[in-house]
């Protein structure tokens, strides 16, 4: 199957200091392919560059060397409709669910904000909101609440609902359950598995839990000493 997204020989170097520049190589020569309906697991210790690599793959950060290809084209060269197509197709879910949502907007406004950006006619908003809440297993009673008034697991589902409205093909999941209890973790991960089955989504799952990887990933890579190695 053709990869939707391919990171090709990616390297990232961090530079710091104003007068005396210091360079720290985070990783080099990383190649990774993401396909629809498949989960690639990414593991590594804190500071090994997992989040940086996932942000580069999602197009949120530029690599120091190498390129990220979306349907065979370098994302750095994408413009106009093709760039928007990439931004829609590849979505990221962050570690801290509460931090992913605006604390001053109700859940309903947060969801409607996405529908507005997608230029969905207003008359369809109610139906779309109802459908997406049903997909992520949330009750409509939550719509009038604010992120601070619902649990971490519910916030992560709301963040997922916002992402799913965009109908991505690939999702970059940066430790989506590390801030959650095991019971809520099981809810969110089984929801992700179900979505993959029903919608054929491709995932890049960043996690530090080997047991989670064993349950979720088709293939696992480990970022160690700046290199990406396939896990046995």
């Amino acid at each position: 199957m053709l990869a939707v997204l391919k990171a090709e020989r990616i390297a990232k170097v961090h530079e710091s200091g104003t007068f005396r520049k210091t360079r720290r190589e985070i990783f080099q020569n990383v190649t990774l392919e993401l396909e629809e309906g498949k989960t690639i697991g990414l593991m590594g210790e804190s500071g090994s560059g997992k989040t940086t690599l996932s942000r580069i793959v999602a197009g949120l950060e530029k690599p120091s060397a190498g390129r990220v290809l979306f349907q065979g084209k370098d994302i750095a060269s994408l413009r106009g409709k093709k760039l928007r197509d990439f931004q829609r197709s590849v979505q990221m879910v962050f570690q801290d669910p509460e931090g992913s949502l605006n604390p001053r907007k109700s859940i309903e406004r947060s969801i409607h904000e996405v529908l507005g950006l997608l230029k969905v006619p207003k008359r369809e908003w109610q139906e779309k909101t109802h459908d997406i809440l049903h997909t992520v297993g949330l009750s409509e009673e939550l719509l009038c609440r604010y992120p601070g008034q619902v649990s971490g697991g519910q916030n992560q589902r709301i963040a997922l609902a916002r992402v799913l409205l965009i109908e991505p093909r690939v999702m970059i999941l940066d430790e989506p359950t590390s801030a959650l209890d095991i019971s809520v973790q099981a809810q969110v991960l089984s929801l992700l598995r179900e979505l993959q089955k029903n919608r054929g989504l491709g995932y890049l799952l960043v996690s530090h839990q080997p047991e989670v990887m064993r349950n979720m990933a088709h293939e696992v890579f480990i970022l160690k000493d700046g290199c990406l190695v396939r896990s046995g």
Partner: protein, 330 residues
């Protein structure tokens, strides 16, 4: 095969919590954070209190240390050294905190003062409780405790918490807890927010701490994997109540309460099976068994409150099979 029977042999508890209830008055209503919580902590043992976030585990720890906010209404008994801790005044309680019962909080970086050196912070314990003459002597003792924990690097005592990682700060908190050789150490989510390598390091430190001191450990966590590694007994909490309590290995191998079974089923190594439904409101908890609206084995009796029943497992192959469960199925 399981049958109800009460064994006669009992050890002496160092801490006995009986019928502890904690309620908070809030603008959203009365929050029932802990409801008739009873357990015993024995000498030299590690008792883990496990449950989902918000089930009241940390409230129990704070009630023992009398660190609850003023809007908390606390009832029940917390017997320690033939005293009810809930009857002690602030001055008497200050003598207990740190010296007799120490606590390790869940966010080590926030629990340490960022503008005071590590050495001074650990040594502060001795000075506050009048156990050392002068700053230099107490810092010497602090260095001794750090050496025992394998943190003997020179210069460490003069460094500040912000210069360390979360895992290293957690070790500093463990060292502080050991300074006065307390009888009980309460560890409130010691691995929360740490990555797996750092969490594993913290677990090793905790095991070392258990070897170095004769203190009993009350471990509060939402992570059953951590419990399995270091606890002797486990108490499973849900919605402010203890639903099951028993030897760790037996509870993990053969959980009795449907909630314990469901919670363990959520573990990735046990298949990531989510618990149906959502956690109940703490302001308006369900009548009867609080888990019954989500329980796959509920029956008509579950709308009445069950009571804690002692169960002896006879096919587990261990003699210490003293288990308690709060469910109408037993």
């Amino acid at each position: 095969m399981i049958k109800a029977k009460i064994p006669a042999i009992r050890k002496t508890p160092v801490l006995q919590v009986s019928g502890l209830s904690v309620q908070f008055e809030t603008p959203l209503g009365r929050v029932h954070a802990a409801d008739s919580v009873s357990f015993e902590l024995f000498e030299n043992e590690t008792l883990a209190m496990v449950g989902e976030t918000g089930c009241g585990k940390s409230v129990v720890a704070s009630a023992i240390m009398q660190l609850l906010p003023q809007n908390a209404a606390v009832n029940g008994d917390i017997e320690f050294e033939e005293r009810n801790l809930l009857d002690l005044g602030e001055k008497e309680m200050a003598k207990v905190r740190g010296a007799e019962i120490a606590i390790i909080f869940q966010n080590p970086s926030l629990s340490l003062n960022p503008v005071i050196t590590i050495g001074d912070q650990i040594a502060e314990m001795l000075q506050v409780h009048g156990k050392a003459a002068g700053r230099s002597k107490s810092i010497e003792k602090a260095a001794g405790v750090l050496r025992r924990l394998g943190l003997g690097e020179s210069g460490l005592l003069k460094m500040y918490p912000f210069q360390f990682s979360g895992g290293m700060n957690q070790r500093i908190m463990i060292a502080s807890a050991l300074m006065l050789s307390p009888k009980i150490i309460i560890a409130d989510e010691p691995t929360k927010g740490l990555d797996s390598a750092t969490a594993a390091g913290t677990v090793r430190e905790m095991e070392k701490m258990k070897d170095l001191s004769s203190a009993s450990l009350l471990l509060i966590t939402h992570d059953p994997a951590l419990v399995e590694k270091i606890a002797d007994r486990v108490a499973v909490m849900y919605c402010g109540e203890i639903l099951e309590i028993g030897p760790c290995r037996e509870v993990f191998q053969k959980p009795l309460h449907p909630y314990t079974k469901a919670l363990l089923g959520c573990l990735p190594e046990r298949g990531l099976h989510p618990i149906s439904g959502a956690s109940p409101s703490m302001t308006d908890p369900p009548q009867g068994c609080k888990f019954h609206p989500r329980c796959p084995k509920r029956n008509a009796k579950c709308s009445q409150s069950p009571f804690m029943k002692q169960i002896e497992t006879i096919d587990s192959g261990t003699a210490s099979g003293e288990r308690w469960v709060k469910c109408w199925l037993y």
